[in-house]
Amino acid sequence: SLYSNRYTGDQVFRITPGNDEEVHALRKMLTRMKVDFWQPNSVSLICQNATVDVHVKRNDTRGLRAHLKQENIHYGVLISNLQKEIEKQTGSHSSRKRR
């Protein structure tokens, strides 16, 4: 398995804060939780109506979902299982290696 399966259950959320209040709440949330920013590159660059893509460890996905619901912040899940997506991306490699 690639990367020793370390990304199993990890997800990528796409979050779109609709106003300054939501921006503030989201910054607070994502500062506290250790997430990997895909875009923008850092929490300070989060702004109103701009999409935020974050890679969230599997143990934190439930908590983030609850917080976003509580703050009524619009979000979607871009990638529901990162490990699977990684293997799909370079799947040919493992088959190629096998060949």
Partner: protein, 308 residues
């Protein structure tokens, strides 16, 4: 061998470096290979020079890929560019004209240590792999470490942040090596292009401030022509404009440094996609992404041969 090399899959650092040696060996009239220095972990920083051997003072274009380790489509594009340029030299008069009149310096993997780490350990690693003597965190954002407005807005001074600017400008051996090469050849290098992902944008200076560059009209029309050429391939739209307003403000970036160093055409491409796959762009999309980007880069290079 080169003919069996698959340009439609992602390759490890070792495979890319072997491929560079093979291209250098099999195309002595169009390809030259050299190293501009060593990375933090001691790996060579290889560059391919493409172009017909002629007068020493030929104008040149610099293209680097893989500044951020996880952006794998970048190195894939640099390899694609070399393959296309060499393969089309004989039958494509436009490409032949470009290679006869320009040299292209292609650096397929700028951040070799980080790229290797993204293959072996952390797929989403972004920075270099340099050690910090005060913090356990490693790496510097190689696109915040250039000596231009270093570590101001849009960069972080905290070593654990992904946009960490480093302990001082050009602290990263990779950045210092490329900056040294471009300073040395500044009279000949007419365009600087850095390949990143993802967002589908074509960016030009300034990144560090909301202001207009002096040769805005020429650069703007070059960018417009480039995204139009890109769109002609598969109808994919790229936004374009100054990095500060099109993406966000960031300091210490390579395009601002190149521009300030006298390279009047400095661009950063943010390749596909806009987030559906993000950094995990499938191998099936390497071909269309590189094909359309090839058209954009050719448009920029062709523009250099005209007066603006």
């Amino acid at each position: 061998s080169e003919s069996q090399y698959d340009y439609e899959v992602y390759h490890s650092l070792e495979e890319i470096q072997s491929w560079m040696f093979e291209m250098n060996r099999t195309h002595p009239y169009l390809v030259d290979m050299f190293s501009v220095g060593k990375s933090y972990e001691g790996r060579p920083l290889y560059v391919l020079q493409l172009g017909k051997r002629s007068r020493p003072q030929k104008k040149a274009v610099w293209i680097d890929c893989g500044v951020h380790a996880r952006e794998w489509i970048g190195p894939a594009f640099c390899q694609w560019f070399v393959k296309e340029a060499i393969n089309s030299y004989l039958y494509d008069s436009a490409m032949r004209r470009l290679l006869n009149q320009l040299n292209f310096y292609i650096m397929p993997v700028f951040n070799v240590d980080g790229y290797h780490f993204s293959w072996t350990t952390d797929r989403f690693w972004r920075k270099t792999r340099s050690k910090n003597h005060k913090f356990h965190c490693r790496g510097v954002d190689a696109n915040r470490n250039w000596k231009v407005k270093w570590c101001e807005e849009g960069a972080s001074s905290h070593p654990c942040d992904d946009t960490y600017c480093g302990p001082y400008p050009e602290s990263e051996p990779e950045v210092k090596a490329v900056a040294k090469f471009l300073r040395k050849h500044k009279k000949r290098v007419k365009a600087y292009i850095s390949i990143h992902a993802y967002a589908q944008m074509l960016l030009y200076p300034y990144s560090y401030k909301y202001a207009t560059i002096p040769n805005f009209n020429c650069v703007e029309s070059a960018a417009h022509n480039a995204v139009t050429a890109l769109y002609s391939a598969y109808g994919v739209k790229y936004r374009y404009g100054p990095a500060s307003t099109t993406l966000y403000v960031s300091s210490g970036s390579s395009i601002d440094w190149a521009y300030r160093n006298g390279i009047r055409y400095a661009f950063a491409f943010e390749l596909r996609d806009t987030g559906h796959f993000g950094f995990l762009l499938p191998e099936s999309l390497i071909s269309p992404t590189c094909t359309e980007t090839m058209r954009a880069v050719k448009a920029i290079a062709t523009g250099l041969l005209k007066k603006c």
